[in-house]
Symmetry: C2
Subunit: 87 residues, 2 copies
């Protein structure tokens, strides 16, 4: 898991059971844009993070309900959210 | 303000300084649908609530930054969100 974490340096461990990252924006439009892209990804992969959205900020928290903690899927989702945030 | 609150019975006062309401859904699609509609409304009215979104749940919290509390605009936004949730 330490190896997986190196791939997503922007994400923090949240109580050892979830990964969390916040993204800052200059407006609401940008923050909602990322949330919308993540929503489509989440639906396509059937792996849905918790999402917070407000003016200038979007945050995501992912964990795997079936194991009540982190699985490989959470790291993959985190990496894909990073890619969406760069695009 | 008591009169305004009667118009939006589904909303709770959050520390006397904000209005908050949660909506439950059977899936992620429905929850994101409401969030997307509220996002477009918020952008059009330049009044942006805090939004929480996860599988089966969307929540909104609104207050007015310029007065650090509730204004008439928050009650109007709450009522409009209720209408979007019914549509």
């Amino acid at each position: 898991m330490a190896e997986l974490r190196k791939q997503i340096p922007g994400w923090a461990l949240d109580g050892d059971r979830a990964l969390r990252r916040e993204f800052a924006f200059d407006d609401f439009n940008g923050a909602f844009g990322l949330v919308a892209r993540v929503a489509l990804l989440a639906e396509a992969e059937s792996h849905h993070p918790e999402i917070e959205l407000e003016w200038g900020r979007a945050a995501f928290r992912t964990w795997t309900h079936t194991v009540s903690g982190l699985s490989r899927n959470d790291f993959i989702l985190a990496a894909k959210i990073d890619l969406l945030a760069e695009s």
